[in-house]
């Protein structure tokens, strides 16, 4: 186990820079999730950490050692690939023991460690099978087994769950998290799925277009997104954004599209009349008499909660209620955002304005 330091790392393919100076400190034993939309550079960064891509500038260190020029096999890391990359001509046991075999470990040693890893992952009955004879979830576990057997300093996961069906994905998510709690190995996990990031991470790094937008614990990111991108990326259904202006005359309010008025707890300093983006999460709407009038378009009950799509000041917003209201399309309701949970972003820069 060790810490990982990524310092001002840049990556260019030809003249095209895909990572513009990324700094991420990772503590020993931490589970860090790199999340972002496709093409944000998260996988490239992971592959640079693994040594599969060169580092154009900046440094990556594992433990106390700068690994920029260290061969992948000397970095003492293990990686789980999106397509698992299991060797099709080797049995499960041989797949898991391959790295030990290359290190000239004795047959007894290999056997012992493969058996132990197989027990951890409930793969013991499958050791003589070939990858073709396994289900998707089993293959996924073999890929993890291959990583565990090596007992590396750092685990790298490259979108490991995206080839699984929805139900299995949730199950494996828990399994990976449990595995991390048991082994406590420093882990860097790449995904485009913010739910995976939220549920698994000790620390989330949100990336976008080759830069780090924000990093922090899942709840920090959820409660206080630094900018509009993170606010829109984290949380499901996504945060509602309304464009408008801050009005301060006695009481601070937000004046949105078509004159709709929404409450603010406090107005940021010198913000009177400034163009802003008003962000409110779907679950932070309540029905109240002093709310703004909205017309319901679609109602989607999921059992535990109900998603309501409505027109508020001509803009579509979504609200989520846990209590069971009787709504029908066309109904008028009064929606009120909880003022203390409202986010304000600068319209020009997208930066967070309120504390």
């Amino acid at each position: 186990m060790s810490s990982v330091q990524i310092r001002d790392v840049r990556k260019s393919f030809g003249n095209f820079e895909v990572l513009h100076g990324v700094t991420i400190p990772i503590e020993d034993g931490q589970f860090v999730v790199l999340v972002g939309p496709s093409g944000c550079g998260k996988s490239t960064l992971l592959r640079m950490l693994a040594g599969l891509e060169n580092i154009t500038s900046g440094t990556i260190s594992i433990g106390d050692r700068v690994v920029n020029n260290v061969q992948p096999k000397e970095r003492d890391i293990a990686m789980v690939f999106q397509n698992y990359a299991l060797y099709p001509h080797m049995t499960v046991a041989d797949n898991m023991g391959f790295s030990l075999k290359l290190r000239n470990a004795g047959a007894d040693e290999i056997n012992k460690r493969v058996k132990r890893a197989a027990e951890i992952l409930a793969l013991s009955p499958l050791l003589d099978r070939y990858p073709r004879q396994l289900s998707g979830g089993q293959r996924q576990r073999v890929a993890m087994g291959r990583a565990i057997v090596r007992d590396p300093q750092v685990f790298l996961f490259d979108e490991p769950l995206s080839n699984l069906d929805a139900k299995l994905r949730v199950a494996m998510r828990t399994e990976i998290k449990e595995l991390h709690q048991r082994l406590k190995t420093t882990t860097v996990y790449v995904t485009h799925d913010q739910i995976e990031a939220m549920t698994m991470a000790d620390k989330i790094v949100v990336m976008h277009d080759g830069i780090v937008e924000q990093m922090g614990t899942p709840l920090e990111l959820y409660d206080k997104p630094d900018n509009q991108f993170v606010a829109g990326f984290i949380g499901s259904p996504a945060m509602n954004f309304l464009k408008g202006h801050v009005r301060v005359n006695g009481v601070a309010t937000f004046e949105g599209p078509n004159g709709v008025k929404l409450p603010l707890k406090t107005a940021p300093a010198n913000s009177d009349g400034r163009p802003v983006v008003y962000g409110v999460r779907p679950e932070h709407f309540t029905i109240a008499d002093d709310g703004a009038e909205a017309e319901i378009i679609v109602v989607e009950p999921t059992g535990s909660e109900t998603q309501v799509f409505a027109k508020l000041g001509g803009e579509q917003v979504v609200a989520v209620f846990r209590e069971r209201h009787q709504f029908n399309p066309g109904d008028k309701v009064r929606l009120k955002p909880e003022p203390s949970l409202v986010h304000l972003f600068d319209d020009a820069t997208g930066k967070r304005m309120n504390a």
């Binding site: 693994a50 293990a78 099709p88 080797m90 391959f98 790295s99 099978r129 070939y130």
Partner: protein, 317 residues
């Protein structure tokens, strides 16, 4: 209307039965679909093969229907040192040429699978020997190996390495080397391109995984590339061996089996005895003598081609 239709329907039904059965029975339908291929195979493969074997048991000559003479042709061949020389030549030719074609082809395939500039053009260029008609390339080699005008002799003389022309096609050893060289030149593209196709089916992430597991480039080849390539190697080498063993054009155009039968293969000897000398029976016997060798080669590849356990489907045995 219904009253009229019902009595009529009966005879129609039974009449249709025999015909529709013929038309719609799956086995019959299958049979009809197979007929063209079967006819083709029977007329152009099975019949000539059978005729050849039959001829080998007769004393047929050109212009004269033969009498059945039992195994007399084979008894003759058994004592014929030229026949045994041609068997030796064929085995030598096949073994050396196939082994080198495999080695060079695999090397080229691995090379072409790397990232390099002009990759597509280089891949296309490798195919050139394959698309030149055999006889034309044989003629070119005939000039290259000519006793007086050979460019090789000329170059070596210019370099001062030799002071006399090498008699490529006139010396028994040189002649064998020359025809084997020409065969390799011609056969390498097939092996290289087929193996390259095989290499491209290997997922790059396997190499990445192996690299992270600590494999060197050699270990990548030894533990990943080679085992995953074995099925395609078995196919390509079967074809290569069969083509080389039955080679005729190249030899006939370059040496006609000479000098002193040093490059006579079974195919060229058979042609010489049957068509040039007119001894159809004896030529047919030489041709038929190739069958056991070819069968043996097919058997070897048959076992080599058996689906390996890891290739088998999702069965939970």
């Amino acid at each position: 209307m219904a009253d009229v239709a019902i009595p009529r329907a009966k005879p129609q039904m039974s009449e249709a039965n025999a015909w529709t059965q013929l038309k719609h029975n799956r086995n019959w339908l299958g049979f009809w679909f197979m007929v063209p291929a079967m006819a083709f195979l029977i007329f152009f493969l099975a019949y000539p093969l059978g005729l050849g074997i039959w001829l080998s048991f007769t004393d047929a000559r050109i212009g004269r229907v033969g009498q059945f003479v039992g195994t007399e042709n084979y008894e003759w061949l058994w004592d014929d040192s030229i026949f045994w020389l041609s068997v030796f030549n064929t085995l030598l030719y096949t073994f050396v040429a196939s082994a080198l074609k495999f080695a060079i082809g695999l090397y080229l395939a691995l090379l072409l699978n790397e990232h390099m500039p002009f990759k597509a053009m280089l891949r296309a260029m490798v195919l050139i020997p394959f698309i030149v008609p055999t006889v034309l390339s044989a003629l070119a080699f005939w000039w290259i190996f000519d006793s007086q005008f050979s460019i090789i002799s000329w170059s070596l003389k210019q370099l001062g390495l030799i002071n006399q022309n090498i008699n490529f096609l006139g010396d028994t050893t040189w002649a064998r080397i020359s025809v084997i060289f020409a065969n390799i030149w011609r056969g390498v593209p097939f092996v290289a391109i087929t193996l390259l196709a095989g290499l491209q089916t290997v997922s790059p992430s396997l190499y990445e995984a192996a690299t992270l597991d600590g494999a060197t480039r050699w270990q990548n080849f030894r533990y990943i590339t080679y085992p995953l390539l074995t099925p395609i190697i078995a196919v390509v080498m079967t074809f290569s061996v069969l083509f080389t063993f039955t080679d005729f054009q190249l030899i006939w155009a370059m040496t006609r089996g000479g000098p002193v039968n040093a490059t006579h293969l079974m195919a060229t000897l058979s042609y010489q005895r049957a068509i040039i000398a007119g001894q159809l029976g004896e030529g047919a016997a030489i041709s038929s003598a190739m069958i056991p060798f070819l069968l043996a080669a097919i058997m070897v590849s048959w076992f080599g081609l058996q689906r390996r356990k890891w290739q088998q489907g999702e069965s939970n045995d």
